[in-house]
């Protein structure tokens, strides 16, 4: 026996004692609060982010109303407008988009790669509770008159700490997700056989891990500065500016990377055909992830937006989106398409992402935007439109994911009628919301800045308000379509409700059991193992 090994009899005795002891299984609330099951954690993320998203939507509508007649300050006082505007932008990204995407991924990715659990399940659970606590504290910091442009010193400290907790928690979830794809795949599932959605989540998680820590570092710097020095980033008015790179392209693309994987998987499954260009799709998703690296903008540079690097990154970002679109079109051409809600969501999210990336590329070309003397092109309201398009693409794809994998995430299929309608409404809302900001940025004659809640041409702001309202209606219809997921089904649900499932999540029961797969899986021999099984039969 090796000298560092424990004698086997010791291990056996300890194991026997542990297994023979009576253990009561937690149930009800205790089962949820103490759960390390990736499905439960994912569901909690989805539910919580959608609830917080409703608040984000209301705040967005109020700002839309304000921006129609900004000089009258009908809704907010001029003293608090900027403060709440930062809440809107921070909450949209960190309380809605990121956690919603992570929630769907936490449920689906382990199932797709044939894992019995997510990697580091307790860390994943801690990430949810940490994120929830951070989100509550973040909102509390605004109530305490903290946050950027706030006047309460303790409130500002709380804002910095709470945002740090939110981001670190999301990063912990990213470690779990990336490790699941990299280390817990089923036997035979090489990386090139990894389902597109799981691959896109892995790429996204890695990009979050190489960019968002830069933000955490800056938050630490801000905290120290605000408490002790007040000489650099820690002043109330400079907090938001130091983090604005997070909310614009190319960095904002990181939240939408899973859109490409979702589209790829849903379209090939709906068409009932194997994806011919799987290698190309993997490469496209990887390139999109790479060009979304925006952390270099964290250190301010007056000419960053005009730099060649920015232009190249923005232009290249369009190519992978087009490539995924072309591969999807090829799948439709070769297969026999079955229209379903997942497909509608996939197309809507792809169009929204294409709008965002094309606009992002156009905005970086010198001379396209009307920039007042002394202002930076990167501050143009044009890029607010780009951000909205990209974030909406991520949200549409995530809600689409809940619909597509409804029997894995919830207890029933989503209601088909509203689920088919919702993506169309969401896409119309996104376009009507985004185009006015883009036009304001191009033809604006004032300081049409993204960091100004009243920026934009007033008439176009009215159109944007209509867009926000339509998008809100779309989310409401989507929520109605998802209500059946909460109700237990009396009938046995089909493991593969679409009948064309290709990847391993459609092999397991609906809803999946605690260990995901009740037996050891056979060796995966292709990227579409369920397709192989049907062909063998």
């Amino acid at each position: 026996m090796a000298v560092t090994e424990t004698p086997p009899e010791t291990v056996e005795a300890a194991s026997a004692a542990a297994t023979s002891a009576p253990r009561s299984q937690p149930s009800g609330l205790a089962a949820v609060l103490g759960s390390g099951d990736h499905k439960t954690i994912g569901r909690l993320y989805v539910l919580s982010s959608l609830l917080l998203g409703a608040g984000v939507l209301v705040l967005g509508l109020l700002f839309g109303v304000e921006a129609v007649k900004p000089e009258t300050w009908d809704v907010f006082s001029s003293a608090h407008a900027m403060q709440l505007f930062t809440l809107l932008r921070v909450a949209t990204v960190f309380l809605l988009a990121f956690p919603l995407v992570i929630g769907v991924a936490l449920v689906v990715v382990p199932l797709q790669v044939g894992a019995h659990t997510v990697a580091f399940p307790r860390a994943a659970a801690a990430s949810y509770w940490g994120w929830l606590l951070g989100s509550i504290l973040l909102i509390a910091s605004y109530i305490a008159d903290g946050g950027p442009f706030g006047t309460s010193a303790q409130g500002i400290d709380l804002w910095i700490a709470a945002l740090g907790l939110v981001v670190v928690s999301l990063l912990v979830a990213a470690v779990s997700l990336a490790t699941t794809v990299l280390a817990l795949r089923a036997p035979g599932m090489t990386l090139d056989r990894t389902p597109l959605y799981a691959w896109s989540v892995a790429v996204a998680a890695v990009m979050w891990l190489v960019t968002l820590p830069v933000m955490v570092g800056f938050l630490v710097l801000m905290y120290v500065d605000h408490r002790h020095a007040g000489v650099s980033l820690g002043s109330s008015s400079s907090l938001y500016g130091a983090l604005s790179w997070i909310f614009r392209n190319p960095q904002i693309y990181v939240v939408a990377i899973p859109v490409l994987g979702f589209v790829g998987d849903v379209v090939s499954t709906s068409a009932g055909t194997r994806s011919k260009g799987r290698g190309l799709a993997h490469t496209a998703i990887g390139i999109f992830g790479t060009v979304s690296f925006g952390a270099f903008l964290a250190v301010p540079s007056t000419h960053a937006v005009e730099s060649v690097l920015m232009i190249v990154l923005a232009l290249v970002a369009v190519v992978p989106v087009l490539a995924i679109g072309a591969l999807a079109a090829d799948s439709v051409r070769r297969g026999k398409i079955k229209v379903n809600p997942g497909l509608a969501y996939a197309l809507a999210s792809l169009v929204a992402l294409l709008l965002g990336t094309v606009a992002g590329a156009a905005g970086t070309i010198p001379g396209v935007l009307e920039v007042p003397e002394g202002a930076l092109a990167s501050d143009s309201i044009f890029f607010l439109g780009v951000t909205h398009a990209v974030v909406m693409a991520a949200v549409i794809a995530a809600v689409g994911g809940v619909t597509w994998w409804a029997t894995k995430i919830g207890r029933r299929q989503a209601a088909t009628g509203p689920a088919l309608l919702a993506p169309a409404i969401l896409l119309i809302g996104t376009v009507v919301m985004v185009i006015p900001d883009l036009v304001s940025g191009i033809v604006g004659d004032g300081i049409e800045t993204a960091a100004d809640p009243t920026g934009g041409i007033a008439g176009l702001n009215a159109a944007a308000l209509v867009g926000v309202a339509i998008a809100g209606l779309g989310l409401l219809v989507a929520a109605v379509s998802l209500l059946p997921l909460l109700k237990r089904s009396e009938d046995d649900l089909d493991a593969d409700p679409w009948g064309n499932g290709q990847t391993l999540e459609w092999l397991t029961a609906s809803p999946p059991s605690a260990g995901n797969f009740d037996a050891e899986l056979a060796v995966v021999t292709s990227a579409e193992p369920l397709f192989d099984l049907r062909e063998e039969k």
Partner: protein
């Protein structure tokens, strides 16, 4: 049904143990390194901006003596050797040397914290200056990273001594070593960018 057909197929060969902890640690260490990359990048940009305007980076009366920083750097390099020694000793199932190497690594970790703390007392650098803000934030964050790496190494030491890791499976200790090396890499950049070039 697809599920029945799949279960009817012959079971897979026993897979090699997935190196979950190692992959997760590599990702976490990469994320922490990126946080420091951002901080040090901001430090260098701020310093270059001050110097370009003809100013001096350190406030009058402040200085960064080189000796404590050099001692800390040398100690970190020594800890790299002892950590490698620990991993090697566990690989050879050499328990006494594994104890010794891990104990020395922890000791070196404490010595670095001591050296940097001593440096703080020598610098006479107010935190309310721009230079002080950046230097204390970056080096303080590194000490927090070091404490985390020491805690990780300690946990993996106890697990190794408890028999969880041995010659054929030393994933936990290799993961802790990788985290430690990331810490040394970050300190090397801090040592050069802050302590040497000032």
């Amino acid at each position: 049904m697809a599920a029945d057909a799949a279960l009817a197929l012959p079971p897979a060969a026993p897979p090699t143990r997935p190196r979950v902890l190692l992959v997760g640690t590599a990702l976490a260490a990469g994320a922490i390194v990126m946080a420091f990359t951002g901080l040090i990048g901001a430090y260098l940009a701020e310093r270059a901006s001050v110097l370009a305007q003809g100013g001096t980076w350190l406030p009058e009366g402040s200085s960064i003596p080189l000796t404590p920083g050099n001692i800390a750097m040398a100690t970190m390099l020594l800890s790299a050797i002892t950590m490698w020694w620990a991993v090697d000793a566990v690989g050879r199932n050499d328990r006494p040397y594994a104890y010794l190497a891990l104990g020395l690594t922890m000791l070196f970790g404490f010595a670095v914290i001591n050296a940097v703390s001593f440096l703080y007392t020598q610098m006479e650098l107010p935190v309310s200056s721009v230079a002080g803000l950046f230097i204390y934030t970056i080096t303080g964050a590194h000490i927090a990273f070091l404490v985390g790496a020491m805690a990780y190494a300690a946990v993996m030491t106890f697990r190794t001594l408890g028999g969880e890791y041995h010659g054929r499976d030393r994933e936990g200790l290799v993961a802790a070593a990788m985290f430690w090396y990331a810490n040394i890499a970050v300190f090397t950049v801090i040592w050069y960018a802050i302590f040497v070039t000032k």
